[in-house]
């Protein structure tokens, strides 16, 4: 059961070969035995999940089940879910039981999926190693002395360790793709605006996007079918016709043009990662694709641009945490300003405070043009590079991350080194394009390597097909960590 695809699980549930309660219990038992070692979940509520499973079983018995009805899905702890502790990995929200559901959660509820629990993450999604979580670091299931990546590190570890059938993530600068790469799973960040941001605790609103993480591209397609959709409560939600993201899964790759950005294969890329990615490109050629070298000349600026824009938006979004309406309030304080300052100083961790400070600085009087406006202009140059590139190719491929999973604590004291681990993923968020990562082999110390696939706007179905055809020809995606 643990290795079954979502399609297979759905069929088994609808054929009544297994009940949702049995399947949910199977995962809850695994979580009980393995989570103390991995720390992938912040919250599980077995009784709540089993109640949802019973409802799903009733729906299955009545014959009106959907694709995901009865399937246990984990949710990143950034998604507000009614009656669930929703911490965003922060002490600031350590006691926040959400009074409402995010749109994505509503969509899963409507589909009859079982909420299996809330997964660990970097605090407010700010991090690339899951080490900034107030609830402790997540361990990489392939080597528990290494990081799972971040910020959706708990989700990535949970999927890799078979602690859920599939799960959700969010990606502001690489937070779905980088942990997917480091944990050897598949993950997709859709085009900006495809999934509603309503009820997702905001980090950088012009970049934040939710997406699915799972064991195969096929599973991601079914997940995205449930997650995507217009929602009027998100002012940037896109009004588009409902589409079936699984429609191109079986399309042959003959004539597919793959663009390889020369900047992604230059200095800074680990040789083990380069080797695995090149082998994947060779496999794609065997499947009928052709390769063209492209250039994204401004992509080298994506990290500096991102570290102006994302903190600027974060400093504004996180101003809502003031110890008045919800969340943490300092136990002792004097006047109102003192209460704000102490509550925020005690409630936020070091990385979050750092980003708030960067954002406050670049938006402050006298610096706006030099930083924020300049970053927005270069953002356009970065986006234009992609527009130009997609005239020559259908998809862009390269590494997801410059290295495989690093050791816990290895980059702890150097924020700049940590920021550079997202060097290949950030440009995609700045442009608003869809991007995914799929496993394509193993590097040093037998740690997984991710292949990044970047598509043009709204090209998710094609990208999923491109990934699925590779997964039919190879078995990297079905490898599971041993000896947990």
């Amino acid at each position: 059961m643990l290795e079954s695809s979502l399609q297979q699980l759905g069929s088994a549930l609808r054929a009544r070969q297994i009940s949702s309660v049995e399947l949910t219990q199977l995962y809850l038992d695994r979580i009980a035995s393995l989570n103390p070692k991995l720390n992938a979940y912040i919250t599980v509520q077995p009784e709540v999940s089993l109640a949802l499973a019973r409802e799903a079983d009733a729906r299955l018995a009545a014959g009106n089940a959907d694709t995901l009805t009865g399937i246990p899905i984990a949710q990143k702890d950034i998604f507000c879910a009614k009656g669930w502790l929703t911490t965003c990995g922060s002490k600031m929200l350590h006691n926040f039981v959400s009074p409402y559901d995010a749109h994505v959660i509503e969509q899963f509820n409507r589909a009859g999926a079982v909420n299996l629990g809330k997964t660990n993450m970097d605090e407010f999604a700010m991090g690339s190693s899951n080490e900034t979580s107030y609830f402790g670091t997540v361990k990489n299931p392939w080597d528990t002395t290494r990081v799972p990546g971040g910020s959706s590190g708990g989700t990535a570890a949970a999927v890799a360790a078979r602690l859920c059938a599939a799960a959700t993530g969010t990606d502001t600068g690489g937070s779905i793709r980088q942990p997917a790469a480091l944990c050897g799973i598949s993950g997709l960040k859709p085009t900006y605006g495809v999934c509603s941001r309503y009820g997702i605790i905001a980090f950088a609103s012009s970049l934040d996007q939710a997406g699915p993480m799972g064991r195969s591209a096929e599973d991601l397609a079914l997940m995205l079918n449930a997650m995507a959709g217009f929602d009027e409560r998100d002012s940037t939600s896109l009004q588009r016709d409902k589409e079936d993201y699984a429609r191109d899964l079986n399309k042959p790759l003959d004539g597919l043009r793959i663009g390889l950005p020369k900047e992604f294969f230059a200095e800074g890329l680990g040789s083990d990662v380069a080797q695995a990615v090149e082998a994947a490109i060779a496999e794609y050629k065997k499947l009928g694709a052709t390769v063209v070298e492209i250039s994204l000349p401004n992509s080298r600026l994506s990290v500096p641009v991102y570290y102006v824009l994302a903190p600027a938006e974060a400093s504004s979004n996180l101003s809502r945490f003031d110890g008045v309406r919800y969340g943490y309030r300092a136990p002792e304080y004097g006047d109102l300003a003192d209460m704000y300052e102490k509550s925020r100083a005690q409630g936020f961790g070091a990385e979050v405070k750092r980003r708030i400070m960067i954002g406050t600085y670049v938006l402050s009087h006298g610096y706006y043009d030099a930083y924020y406006l300049q970053a927005q202009k270069i953002r356009r140059l970065i986006a234009q590079d992609f527009t130009e590139a997609f005239r020559q190719c259908d998809v862009i491929m390269g590494p997801t991350s410059p290295s495989t999973a690093f050791k816990l604590g290895e980059k702890g004291d150097d924020p700049v080194q940590m920021y550079l681990s997202d060097i290949y993923t950030i440009a995609v968020n700045l442009a608003g394009l869809p991007g995914m990562s799929i496993p394509c082999g193993f590097g040093e110390n037998n740690m997984p390597v991710g292949l990044q696939i970047i598509g043009n706007y709204f090209d998710e179905a094609r990208m999923l097909g491109v990934a699925h055809q590779y997964q039919l020809a190879t078995d990297w995606h079905s490898r599971a960590p041993q000896g947990l």
Partner: protein
């Protein structure tokens, strides 16, 4: 760019973050490193480039000016640090 402790203190105050002198010193060093990374942007010629504020070129949707939310005061205040008689309590602001 050289950040001083006074700069950091000012930013911390604008951001409503209480910081000790030791924390300010650490923050200054780390922020200086980050701003050195960000400084790479400054060499780029962006004359005539329109700033890109958003990934999608879209207009803001409008809706009728009608009430869409129901009153859920009790539900929302159940998770507040301190409330009384339906009001959020904070330290006294006006003497």
């Amino acid at each position: 760019m050289l950040l001083t402790n006074a700069d950091v203190r000012k930013v911390a105050s604008l951001a409503r973050l209480a910081m000790s002198e030791a924390e300010i010193e650490t923050a200054r060093l780390q922020l200086s490193g980050i701003f050195a990374l960000i400084a790479k942007m400054q060499a780029v010629d962006t004359q005539g480039i329109e700033p890109m504020s958003h990934a999608q070129d879209m207009a803001q949707r409008l809706r009728e000016d009608v009430v869409t939310e129901t009153n859920q005061r009790e539900l929302f205040q159940a998770i507040a640090p301190q409330v009384e008689a339906g009001l959020y309590l904070v330290p006294q602001v006006i003497e």
